[in-house]
Each structure stands twice: as C-alpha cells, then as structure tokens.
C-alpha cells in the first residue's frame, strides 16, 4: 500500500481540522448540539463563498467585490420575497444578479486587459456607493416572512441545517466538475500557463469570463444561504466577506498565482478559518482581532504555498556553512 498517496495536503488539513475540533470539545462547550448546529450554520455560506473565490483564483484572477456582490444578491432576494413572489422566482433572480455582476467584472478585465484586482477593487466601491445612493433605505430590507427564512432556519433531525445540506451538495457537484470535466481542467490550464493553454486549444479569455459567471452563481448561492438565516438584510454588512473567502482558499492550498490547488482543500480551509476565529472568541479576544488574524493567516498560508522549500533549505544550509567557517569563504 502506498502511503504517499494518502499523505496529501488535504488529508493533513482534514487531520488538523479534526484535532482542532477535539481540542475545542474538551476545553469548551463546543461539543454540544447547539455548538455543532451553529458551526454548520456559519460555515455553509463561507464554504460556498470560498469555493467561488477558489475557482477564480485557480485561473490566476481575483475578486475583491465578492462580498458586495453577495449584498446585492441578498437585497434582490429579500425585496422580491417581500413582493410575495414564489421562492423559485426570487432565488432565480438572486442567482442571476450574482452572475451578472461577477460576469461584468470578468468581461471588463478580459476585454480591456486590465488586472482583475483593480477592476474588482473599484467595483467594490461602486457597489457600496450604489447601495447607499440608489437603493431604497440603503438596501435595508426588514421583517422578512417565513417564505424567505424557511431555507436558512429549517433543519433536519433538529441538528443539520438545510443550508448545510445545500452547501455540501453544491460543493460535491463542483468538486466533481473540477476533477472530471473539460471545463474544470481548462481552469487549471489557463491559470498555470496561459500560452500552453492557447496551444492546447483553449480560449483563455472565454474561460475567464465563464469562470466569473460560475463565481457569480456560487456567490448567489452563498448570499442566499447567508441571507435566509436572518429576517432582515443589510447589504453593506456583506462587505469584507471576500477576505474570509480568500483566507479559506489559500489556507486550503489554492495557489494564489493560479494553476493549482484542490477544492476539497478549500472546504477544510473554510472550516479551519472558522474554528480559528471562534477559538479567538472563546479565548476572550475582542472581535477586532479578526482583521489582524485574517491578514496573518493569508500571509503565512500564501508563503507556504508559493515558497520552494528545497531552495530555501539549501540556501539556509549554505548560510549556516558560511557562518561555520567564520566567513573565510565570503
């Protein structure tokens, strides 16, 4: 039996997650029905959002406006459900909103050959300004009825939230797609080596637009999962979610330069980032330590993925050797 096959980054992440959970169960009240329920409730939107960012990052792009797109999604769903439209209609409209906004990001970035970071950074501001200026009540929707919140509040066997089941199903479909379809492979090809992808008959520009549409769809799902857990919606409260998603993706081993990383890793990354943040809360740190934590997590995780440790080890050995002989060779 080949051990190496099982010693992947994903299994290691999985082991860390399990160890973490055991540790939390022993030291806190985490190990209870409500603890697991709120874990599953909180990580579901984060998982899907992190997957959305992952597929974009795999092609070598990024989306800083992911959080504010989710805000739009939530607003559209909320306002349409207030108009007593059936769930199929308002959810469909919400998903479409996500695809349109993310697709616009991709289209601008590809057509005018501008880095997606700058486009989406600007879009982030455009969205926020749009909420405050053009949406009624700055986009605040309140008193949502059960025709909206049934999804977010329902649970199977009194423990497993509906949204967790939805999230796992979506994640499974996506992982299958990345592994076994031509489209999934083409994302890695475009992110890994654009020129080689062109020679392999892939149109990189089209692929990038498609991946943004997919991202928008996923952000639509994530926005719906998050919004339906409460009976009011404040679009601007979604701003900054993208940092959590990016952190989850890079912790999960998605290479920020594009071209590699597995979605299963992203899922573990999402859980791990969540566990870290609740541990901070259990330990009595204030909420605002989260900013610093996210920043530090991203830096460390990206450093680990992009660094060639063989080279680093050689360099360190050389340095130590040079110190050893008193700098005579230098």
């Amino acid at each position: 039996m080949n051990m190496k096959r099982y010693l992947t980054r994903e299994t290691m992440l999985g082991a860390i997650v399990v160890a973490f959970m055991v540790f939390l169960s022993i030291t806190t009240h985490f190990n209870s029905k409500s603890g697991f329920f709120s874990l599953m409730l909180d990580i579901s939107p984060t998982m899907i959002g992190a997957l959305a960012l992952s597929v974009v990052i795999i092609t070598g792009n990024i989306d800083i406006s992911a959080g504010t797109i989710m805000g739009f999604v939530a607003f559209v769903a909320g306002i349409l459900s207030k108009a007593d439209l059936p769930p199929v209609v308002f959810m469909g409209a919400a998903l479409l909103t996500g695809m349109l906004l993310a697709g616009l990001n991709g289209w601008i970035s590809v057509t005018f050959k501008v880095p997606s970071i700058v486009v989406t950074l600007a879009m982030n501001m455009v969205h926020l300004g749009f909420y405050a200026t053009f949406l009624p009540n700055s986009g605040w929707v309140e008193n949502l009825e059960s025709n909206f919140t049934w999804l977010g509040r329902g649970r199977f066997f009194d423990v497993v939230p509906y949204i967790f089941v939805v999230a796992v199903a979506v994640a499974a479909v996506l992982i299958f797609m990345m592994k076994y379809t031509r489209f999934g492979k083409s994302l890695y090809a475009v992110g890994g080596n654009r020129q080689a992808a062109i020679y392999a008959g892939i149109n990189p520009d089209q692929t990038v637009i498609k991946v943004y549409l997919l991202e928008g769809l996923l952000l639509g799902v994530a926005g719906l999962l998050k919004a339906t857990t409460a009976n009011e919606i404040m679009p601007s409260s979604f701003q900054g979610r993208e940092m959590v998603f990016i952190a989850a993706a890079v912790v999960g081993g998605i290479n920020i330069m594009g071209g590699s990383g597995k979605l299963l890793g992203t899922l573990f990354g999402a859980v791990l980032v969540y566990l870290l943040s609740i541990t901070m809360i259990y330990m009595g740190f204030q909420d605002y330590y989260q900013f610093a934590l996210q920043g530090a997590i991203i830096l460390v995780a990206v450093f680990v993925t992009v660094t060639d440790f063989h080279v680093l080890r050689k360099r360190a050995a050389r340095l130590i050797g040079r110190l050893g002989d008193g700098g005579r060779r230098a």
Binding site: I62, I64, I108, F112, K113, V114, P115, I117, V118, V119, L121, A122, M123, N124, M125, V126, H127, L128, G129, F130, Y131, A132, T133, R194, Q195, I198, M243, I246, V250, I256, M257, Q286, Y288, Y289, Q290, F291, A292, L293, Q294, G295, A296, I298, L299, V302, F303, V306, T307, D308
Partner: protein
C-alpha cells in the same frame, strides 16, 4: 510616445477645467479663492501617498495597504502623544511605524514569491487589526496648536502649507522619475524584471526601497491629515486606498507596469480634490463620492486600455 503622453495629460487638464467650471456654475461659491485653495488643502494626504504609489504601480505592483499604514501611524502618534505628551516623540514614532510597515511589505514582496497584491491585501488587514488593537474604540485628540499649525498654516493667508509640502515632494519625485536612473529602472521592472536582473541591477533592493518609501509617505500623510482632523481614530484612512489608486491610474500610470507619469498623478489628485470639494458644496454624500470614484477608476482603466491598443496597432500580444 512623448507627444502622446502630453496629449493624455492635456485631456486630464481639460477634464479638470470642465469640472471646476461645472461646480462653479452649480455653486458660484466654488470660485471664491478660499474655497479653491481649500481644494489644495484637502488633497494633501492623498497627494503625498499617490506619489509613492506612482513608483509602485510603474513596477507593475500595487500597495493596497496605504490607507491603513496612514491609520496605524496616526493611531501610534495619538497613543504616544497621549502617553508622553511630547510631540517630537510622537512624530518620530509615527514615522517609524510607517517606515516599519512599508519595510515589512517590501521585504515580503522582494524576499518571497508572494505577489504584491496579495501581500498588501493581507498586511492591510494586519495593520488595520493592529490599530484596532492599540486604540479599540478610543480616539486621541487634544493635540497642541503648534502641531496643527505645521500642516494647516496659510501662507499669505491663502496657500495652505500642506500644499507647499506636496509641491516640494512632487518636484522631488518627478525629478527622480524623469531624470535619474531610478525612473528608468522602475519602468524596466514593470516591463521585464528578469531582463533587469540579468543586466546586473538589484531589482529586489529597488522594490524594498519603494515599498518602504510608500510607508514613509503614508506616515507623513497621516501627520498632515491629523493636523486638519485633530483626532486620531480607527476610522481614519478607510477610503483612502481607492482614492490614491484612482488618482494614479487616472494620471495615466498603467496597472500593467512600465508606463507612468508623476505629473499625471498630480493632475489626477487635483481632479479628485475638486470632485470632493464640489460634492461637499452641492450636498452630495461621501457615498456618492466613492461611487463616482469607482466608476471613474473603471472608466480610466478602459480609456487607457483603448488608447494603448490604438498605439500598439493591431498587433496582438498575450
């Protein structure tokens, strides 16, 4: 190419003129000299940061953490002043903070393979978190008049001294950008960093230098900003990233690297100042201002890309 540059800057100048006339027509108060000079006062901090940002974007990098380096330096200034009561000590600590933040960015970017955008995206949250950790919900105020006068004195009763600082810095940066070898090296890094490495230029040192410079400039900007605001709190500097980047991109510095202009950045900063003052006068909120900035940034990117494509003809490159 030179003529093209001047053309683009002429367009910016015309846009600036149109904006001034537009706001003047909407609100005649805008033409009063003290209102016009107030525009030059409010651009102090973004102007100072935009100069270093021009260098960084020319190399194909970006610094998303500028607003939060300003925030952290300001908070450190406030905290040290509240603790010791000494302005020189507080100024020194603020400058040291900004330099340390910028140096950290530079070392990570030059020393590891992490791209600038991710590095500064992460450090932006790091610095923001640090200023929250230091200040919490406190705000620091009660700075002595002498400190405020350092940045708010009006020369000849009209020209704010912060604008004079900005002009001096602008001339210095422009000199380095257009005359010395540094400007050429920055553009070289933006075009093809490897080629520069092979021709024996220590590009990593240059990168560390410019990102540190960005930190120093953010700290200076925070001092100018504090003189006007007179209170340091954790909300300061939140929107400044986008304003600074918009000013630089609007000025014609390409986000792909290799092309840029400090003079263009200066015009971009002026346009943003006029917009901000004008919006305040006609009672538009800060949200509409941010919305406009976002749209402006995307529009500038598109216009610049189209111009670029025309210049390079039909030649298709990947």
């Amino acid at each position: 190419m030179r003529a093209k540059d001047i053309n683009y800057q002429a367009i910016l100048g015309v846009v600036l003129g149109i904006l001034v006339i537009l706001f003047g027509v909407l609100e005649p108060v805008f033409f009063y000299p003290d209102v016009l000079f107030d525009v030059t006062a409010i651009i102090g901090e973004i102007g100072i940061m935009a100069l270093a940002m021009t260098f960084i974007i020319t190399t194909g990098g970006i610094d998303l953490s500028v607003g939060y380096m300003l925030q952290l330096s300001g908070i450190v200034f406030g905290a040290v002043f509240a603790g010791s009561g000494s302005v020189p000590l507080a100024v020194l600590s603020a400058l040291a903070t900004g330099t340390a933040c910028g140096l950290f960015n530079g070392l990570v970017i030059a020393g590891t393979k992490i791209p600038p955008l991710v590095t500064t995206l992460a450090t932006m949250n790091l610095y923001r978190g640090l200023s929250f950790i230091i200040a919490g919900t406190n705000s620091y105020s009660g700075f002595p008049e002498g400190f405020k006068r350092l940045s708010t004195t009006l020369l000849f009763d009209t020209v704010p001294i912060s604008f004079v600082y900005l002009l001096i810095l602008f001339l210095l940066f422009n000199l380095f950008y257009t005359r010395g070898s540094l400007g050429k090296q920055l553009k070289g890094i933006g075009f093809n960093e490897r080629a520069l490495v092979f021709s024996g230029i220590k590009t990593k040192r240059i990168l560390v230098l410019i990102y540190s410079l960005s930190g120093v400039m953010s700290a200076l900007a925070s001092l100018v900003y504090l003189g006007r605001l007179s209170a340091a709190r954790t909300s300061m500097g939140n929107d400044l990233n986008l304003q600074v980047i918009t000013a630089v991109v609007l000025g014609g510095t390409s986000t792909m690297g290799g092309v840029g202009s400090v003079a263009g950045t200066f015009l971009g900063v002026l346009i943003i100042g006029v917009l901000r003052k004008g919006y305040t006068l006609i009672n538009f909120s800060g949200n509409i201002f941010n919305f406009t900035l976002g749209v402006l940034l995307i529009a500038a990117l598109i216009v610049f890309a189209v111009l670029e494509r025309k210049r390079s003809g039909k030649k298709k490159s990947c």
